[in-house]
Symmetry: C2
Subunit: 86 residues, 2 copies
């Protein structure tokens, strides 16, 4: 009933929307969990295909986390890109 996912865009719009809705709720739950359990200050911004904004911020306003990012010296800003972990 739950086959492995194929890592490519879901072309069927209905399936894509259902999958987005389910995955979004899990993703934001996990984001919330790690922020509390591990005391992580984080911000997540997501634009759905229709352009709708979904955002999450652990503690402060999302603008404050963005500012913390912007205020980093460039060497620290670019050093840790999580794509290497995916």
């Amino acid at each position: 009933m739950c086959p492995k996912v194929d890592m490519k865009k879901i072309e069927n719009p209905t399936k894509c929307q259902v999958s987005f809705s389910k995955r979004r709720s899990s993703l934001f739950r996990k984001t919330h969990e790690i922020s509390v359990l591990c005391d992580v200050d984080l911000a997540l911004i997501a634009f759905s295909p229709s352009g709708r904004l979904n955002k999450f911020c652990s503690q402060k306003r999302i603008e404050d986390v963005m500012q913390r990012y912007i205020d980093l010296p460039p060497d620290k800003r670019f050093r840790y890109d999580i794509k290497r972990l995916v």
Copy 2:
């Protein structure tokens, strides 16, 4: 072996770090998956307790996603806060 998680900060520093490391890799994998499967443009910025930056961006530079957020009219920027889904 895998008890339910208690939704509060893990005070033991070693356990906290191990949990962070495990959850971070899953979180960024899920973030990557939803961005590909559902064609979502997103940015995730996370500061670990030690202040280290971890970031992920789906397609463009993280600054571009931030700019897209900043460019939203205020009513759209504040309407969809995902905390309601957690």
